[in-house]
């Protein structure tokens, strides 16, 4: 995975983005979300969430709109095997395959990859409940701008000139939190 790994419990302001309610992305589904001026694909693979930058390193296509497929392999002609423990996202343009878990391309895993990011599931109670991890001015009454297709998101602290619908955080629901590298830190180059 690229970028610095936030430690659970560390103070990580400004780089944790609530992008959706977990229930909005059931298993097998995905959502394209926006954060910091870019779009990302959030995928729910059997309850595990994966996030990839929505941009193919080849020609800039919206990679996360491509089909997600089980891996097919063959060690010889005629000996096909479908491996449903491995999933590849296939770019809608040109068909390059990217491992959904690592972002590495099949064709050239060392040098061609798409950036991927950690994702956490946070209970609403923690997000809205004035936890220090979210920043001092976060209160239950403060609506968070939640993610959706082409909607923008805001971290616990910062808000921007977003045009999205706003969603009040409910303490009963779980939320998908996209963790981007710290602002100003260099992301591992592709």
């Amino acid at each position: 995975m690229s970028g610095p790994q936030p430690e659970v419990g560390s103070s990580t302001r400004g780089n944790r983005y609530v992008v959706a309610r977990a229930a909005d992305i059931p298993p097998g589904e995905r959502r394209i979300v926006r954060a910091r001026g870019r779009t990302y694909g959030i995928f729910n693979l059997d309850g595990r969430f994966h996030a990839l930058l929505n941009r193919c390193p080849h020609q800039g296509a919206q990679l996360c709109k491509g089909p997600l497929q089980t891996f097919v392999e063959a060690d010889a002609p005629g000996r096909l095997r479908f491996d449903d423990s491995r999933w590849f996202l296939q770019c809608p343009w040109h068909g390059w395959e990217f491992d959904i878990e690592t972002g590495q391309s099949y064709a050239d895993p060392a040098r061609t990859r798409v950036r991927n990011y950690p994702v956490d599931i946070e209970p609403g109670a923690e997000l809205a409940g004035g936890d220090d991890r979210r920043g001092a001015d976060q209160t239950q009454q403060e609506p968070l701008v939640a993610g959706g297709v082409h909607n923008t998101v805001v971290s616990g602290r910062s808000k921007g000139p977003y045009t999205a619908e706003t969603v009040s955080v409910s303490v009963e629901a779980d939320y998908v939190v996209l963790i981007l590298p710290d602002r100003g830190s260099k992301e591992t180059p592709i």
Binding site: A76, P77, H94, A107
Partner: protein
């Protein structure tokens, strides 16, 4: 000019290369069918005489006897034996004057256009026996191509097993026009038999398909047929890659003969590009196709089609391997400007590879 004088004048290596040379592109000719009588059962000789069969038609389709490409002018006989029909001619025209350490000879006779399986198989055996007795056993510099008829792969395998261990044979000749693209699984046992005997599968100009000889019908003129033959090498390479022949037969080596190589890098790049997006279609191809091609495929240098030296040099760089190009004189066919142009284009540090080392490695000489 006598034959001897013409020979001296036409020596492909004269004054241009005095290092070791392996000539990978030499043809010998059966000539008339009587040549094969000593190598056929009497019953077949009688059969041939009574049916008045003389020669398979695809030889003339691919090499019209008096067309410019069929015979280089200096070898059109005025005296002495017809070029390359007898060992003595080969020796006098090529081996002695040019002095290659090894010459790999191919006796293409158009057997692919004979559909009768027994007639074709018996003639293939006869050609192989003729080549052994009249050429390979007479000169340690000679190596040869096994002739098979691919319409019956089981029979072809039997023939490879019969003669393939003769130390003179280094390759099996497969025509670029075939009954089905060479990568198809039905051919995999044939290629396995070839590779298991340490032989190379060499795809050469010639052959007949089951349908029209192009992707778009029947050409009117020979020049169309001949010039556009490149398309056949293209689809054969694509088929071999796509069908996983390299994966199915891990010790297989392949040569492309008589198509030149300047067109090939573009195809190699295209294969890699398409594989990245279409791998799921052919998942046995686990690595970019260029890898297998660069390791296991070679191509004889002619024809160069008058490409200037800088284009030849660039094509070799584009190929991405110094091990792929093989010198061949093309004797006695006319393939245009040859050795001079080749050596002008190949970087000096690579010349000994092209002239002999690549061939020694590729054919395990």
């Amino acid at each position: 000019m006598t034959q001897a004088e013409a020979t001296a004048a036409a020596n492909p290596l004269a004054d241009r290369w005095d290092g070791p040379a392996v000539d990978c592109d030499v043809q010998v000719q059966v000539g008339t069918i009587e040549t094969l009588y000593p190598y056929l059962e009497k019953g077949w000789v009688d059969w041939i005489e009574s049916t008045a069969f003389r020669v398979p038609p695809s030889l003339a389709i691919n090499y019209p006897p008096r067309a410019g490409i069929s015979m280089a002018p200096q070898w059109i006989p005025t005296d002495g034996p017809a070029a390359a029909t007898r060992y003595e001619a080969l020796r006098d025209h090529l081996l002695e004057p040019a002095g290659p350490e090894i010459a790999i000879i191919n006796p293409y006779w158009g057997l692919d256009s004979l559909r009768h399986p027994e007639l074709a198989a018996s003639l293939a055996r006869a050609i192989n026996d003729w080549l052994i007795e009249q050429f390979l056993d007479r000169d340690p510099r000679l190596r040869g191509s096994v002739t098979i008829v691919h319409h019956d792969p089981a029979e072809a395998i039997r023939e490879i097993e019969r003669v393939g261990d003769h130390p003179g044979f280094v390759q099996v000749h497969l025509p670029v026009w075939s009954q089905a693209p060479w990568g198809r699984r039905l051919w995999h046992p044939l290629f396995k038999a070839i590779a298991d005997r340490g032989l190379v599968a060499t795809i050469h100009y010639g052959g007949v398909p089951d349908g029209p000889p192009t992707a778009t019908g029947w050409p009117s003129y020979f020049i169309e047929h001949y010039a556009a033959a490149t398309q056949m090498y293209l689809i054969q390479v694509v088929s071999i890659v796509a069908e996983g022949l390299f994966e199915a037969v891990p010790n297989l080596r392949i040569t492309l003969n008589d198509c030149g190589f300047i067109w090939l890098p573009g195809l190699i790049w295209r294969l890699d590009k398409d594989w990245k997006g279409l791998r799921r279609d052919i998942p046995w191809v686990q690595r970019p196709p260029s890898e297998a091609i660069r390791q296991r495929l070679c191509v004889t240098a002619l024809p160069l089609d008058d490409a200037p030296p800088e284009e030849i040099a660039r094509a070799i760089d584009w190929l991405g391997s110094e091990a792929m190009v093989l010198y061949g004189s093309g004797y006695p066919r006319a393939k245009g400007e040859g050795l001079t142009a080749l050596l002008d284009g190949v970087p000096e540090a690579m010349q000994s590879k092209v002239m002999s080392e690549n061939a020694r490695r590729h054919f395990n000489l």
